[in-house]
């Protein structure tokens, strides 16, 4: 039998030592790309690219929940019926329910800090979706209008935001 002479080589990256004493601490790099589906909520994200806010609603006549959902859900939480889609008519005007100024954000933040994060009540919705104010200073009760990043969309929830409407 022929003797195998090929040796296993180290093909990785040497782990840099951050601290040697008293305990040894090394760097442990992590860099990953996940694949993520929007699943049955895809119409919402496609809608943003087209300048539309898409909401879902439950078509079950016996269901007590008649209001719209944004964030949308594919199934009604109360009766489990598959929901229907409806585009809100532009201009969508909402009211600021509450807000914060994000000063210190976590790694990977895609908005320039500081910025105003706002929670907006929209007529007809069961929910109070979170978004951000493009400019201006928010207060509780302030009227705002939805806008869309239809050019160079990010393909994320950041593709809609609000501007003052008063």
């Amino acid at each position: 039998m022929k003797r195998e002479t090929r040796k296993v080589k180290f093909v990785g990256r040497v782990a840099p030592v951050k601290q040697s004493e008293p305990q040894m601490v090394i760097e442990w790099p992590r860099s990953l790309v996940h694949t993520h589906t929007y699943g049955m909520l895809s119409p919402f994200f496609k809608g943003l690219r087209e300048g539309k806010l898409m909401a879902t609603w439950c078509p079950n006549k016996k269901c007590p929940e008649k209001r719209l959902w944004i964030p949308p859900r594919a199934h009604c939480p109360d009766c489990h019926t598959e929901m229907k889609w409806k585009a809100l008519r532009n201009p969508v005007i909402g009211t600021i329910y509450t807000f914060t100024e994000v000063v210190y954000a976590g790694t990977g933040i895609e908005l320039s800090t500081p910025y105003w994060q706002i929670d907006v009540e929209i007529p007809g919705l069961a929910t109070i979706p979170k978004s951000y104010l493009l400019y201006g200073t928010p207060y509780i009760g302030m009227k705002v209008q939805a806008q869309f990043r239809t050019e160079k969309p990010t393909n994320t929830v950041l593709d809609y935001y609000w501007i003052p409407a008063e």
Partner: protein, 456 residues
């Protein structure tokens, strides 16, 4: 609208009584390269077995365990799947079964709930509840991003990538709805960080002033850095058992009651509903609470905490929490979440939460002091350990062992510290009977409320 049917509101009942007899903890640090995770859990485990005055040899006590529940918040942080197996082996507990528990910030509370269920059901006579977190493998901003993936990744995470930005809107709304001054929030930070000065386990003790808190750096308006909890490394554990074993192991066991509640991960999805009333509340108390444009729970309150309290007060037969509890340990991840919880668990009616602080009730020596451990703001938030650490602090308080576990210079030395010359005991009075602790996740996605009752 959330509506309940009969079965949904059944009050949990153990098949047999459950007791807690011993606890252990490590100190908590921002960066803890001295020990690996499993080594830290071993140190808490040893303190539990060896230093709680149990009436049996530590290894004989270990020999009674036949189930373990392990709490860990995030695999991201440890970067080790099945950490439970590694820890369990390291503690020398194979092949006894163990279950990993994950309910965000409420992981510690849920871990105790799981261990209690094992004892109550008869699966185990003696169950270990242990929890940990190692949050120092990444820098602070990356840690904050990891935690923010416990917001909805599709609709919320990208809008802040830090949890303070999900609590700050609640703080603004709460202040608007109930006309609460920022000073009240700041007093919570001052109080809990001060109490941490008496703890050898504390990560960020400090003698701050209200002015210092309010003039400090802002994380997300209106929350200042001093109003936000620690990001920690450390471990805690507790020993739960049936009645017969409890009295075999100690003359000072405490009985355990614990229930949980949940609500939407996204605050956005909270639909308005009727307030579930605690035993001492009436509908008249709240007829003028909701002003125009407001809703309950809105962004002001936590249905999960209210529901857990609603259940556990009935399970434990508590009629008026402020009158019947001698200590509470609340989940003060942020000053605002602490403040909001006072209403949820009935220390004050909704809308009057601030009075619990302003009246002095919440302070050491007050009617029902809160977070004498230093809480999450002053002492620790190694997430999987937190709800266990809080319960252990309640246990030691009821057993009159605060000084033993906080005042011994050897414990300070063990964790590389010197006991302060002006150290003050925060031991609650001898006639204290009951303590409560809250373990809380997300923006109120999972909450457990537990009661420990002195049983001797």
């Amino acid at each position: 609208m959330i509506t309940f049917k009969e079965g949904n509101l059944r009050i949990p009942k153990w098949n047999r009584r459950v007791f807690m007899v011993a606890g252990g903890t490590t100190a908590y640090r921002k960066y803890f390269p001295e020990y690996k995770l499993e080594e830290l859990v071993m140190m808490a485990f040893k303190q539990m077995l060896e230093d709680n005055d149990l009436k049996m040899d530590p290894l004989e006590v270990k020999g009674l365990i036949n189930y373990a529940a392990y709490g860990e918040f995030a695999d991201h942080f440890q970067d080790q799947l099945l950490c439970e197996a590694k820890v369990h082996d390291y503690l020398g507990l194979d092949p006894l079964y163990n279950t990993g528990i994950k309910t965000g910030g409420a992981t510690g509370g849920t871990t105790i709930l799981n261990a209690a269920m094992a004892v109550a059901s008869g699966y185990a006579d003696v169950a270990l509840a242990a929890g940990w977190e190692r949050m120092d493998e990444v820098d602070t901003r990356t840690g904050n991003y990891y935690i923010s993936t416990a917001a909805c990744k599709d609709f919320e995470t990208r809008l802040g990538r830090i949890y303070s930005s999900y609590y700050a809107p609640m703080a603004n709304r709460f202040a608007w709805a109930y006309n609460v001054s920022e000073t009240t929030r700041a007093k919570i930070a001052v109080k809990n960080r001060l109490y941490a000065c008496s703890s050898p386990y504390a990560q960020q003790p400090g003698k701050h002033t209200v002015e210092e808190v309010l003039s400090g750096r802002i994380s997300a308006y209106p929350l200042r850095f001093l109003e936000c909890c620690a990001m920690s490394v450390g471990a805690a554990c507790a020993l739960l058992c049936d009645e017969k074993t409890a009295f075999k192991l100690t003359d000072h066991p405490v009985e355990v009651f614990i229930c949980g509640g949940t609500h939407t991960l996204r605050v956005a999805d909270r639909r308005p509903m009727e307030i579930p009333l605690l035993p001492h509340e009436t509908p008249e108390m709240y007829k003028d609470l909701i002003k125009e444009g407001a809703r309950w729970p809105g962004f002001e309150s936590f249905l999960a905490a209210r529901f857990a309290a609603w259940l556990v007060y009935r399970m434990a037969g508590i009629h008026n929490p402020l009158e019947e509890l001698d200590l509470v340990e609340l989940h003060d991840a942020f000053t605002i979440s602490d403040l909001q919880t006072y209403g949820d668990i009935g220390l004050r009616p909704y809308g009057q939460e601030g009075d619990y602080i302003e009246s002095g009730d919440a302070y050491y020596g007050g009617k029902c002091p809160s977070n004498l451990s230093g809480g999450l703001l002053g002492t620790m938030h190694a997430v999987g350990a937190t709800g266990i650490f809080q319960a252990v602090e309640c246990l030691w308080q009821l057993q009159q062992k605060y000084d033993k576990f906080h005042g011994d210079p050897k414990i300070w030395k063990k964790w590389g510290k010197q006991k302060p010359k002006d150290w003050q005991s925060l031991q609650i009075p001898k006639n204290s009977k009951q303590a409560l602790w809250v373990s809380h996740a997300g923006v109120g996605s999972h909450v457990t409320v537990g009661i420990l009752r002195k049983s001797w």
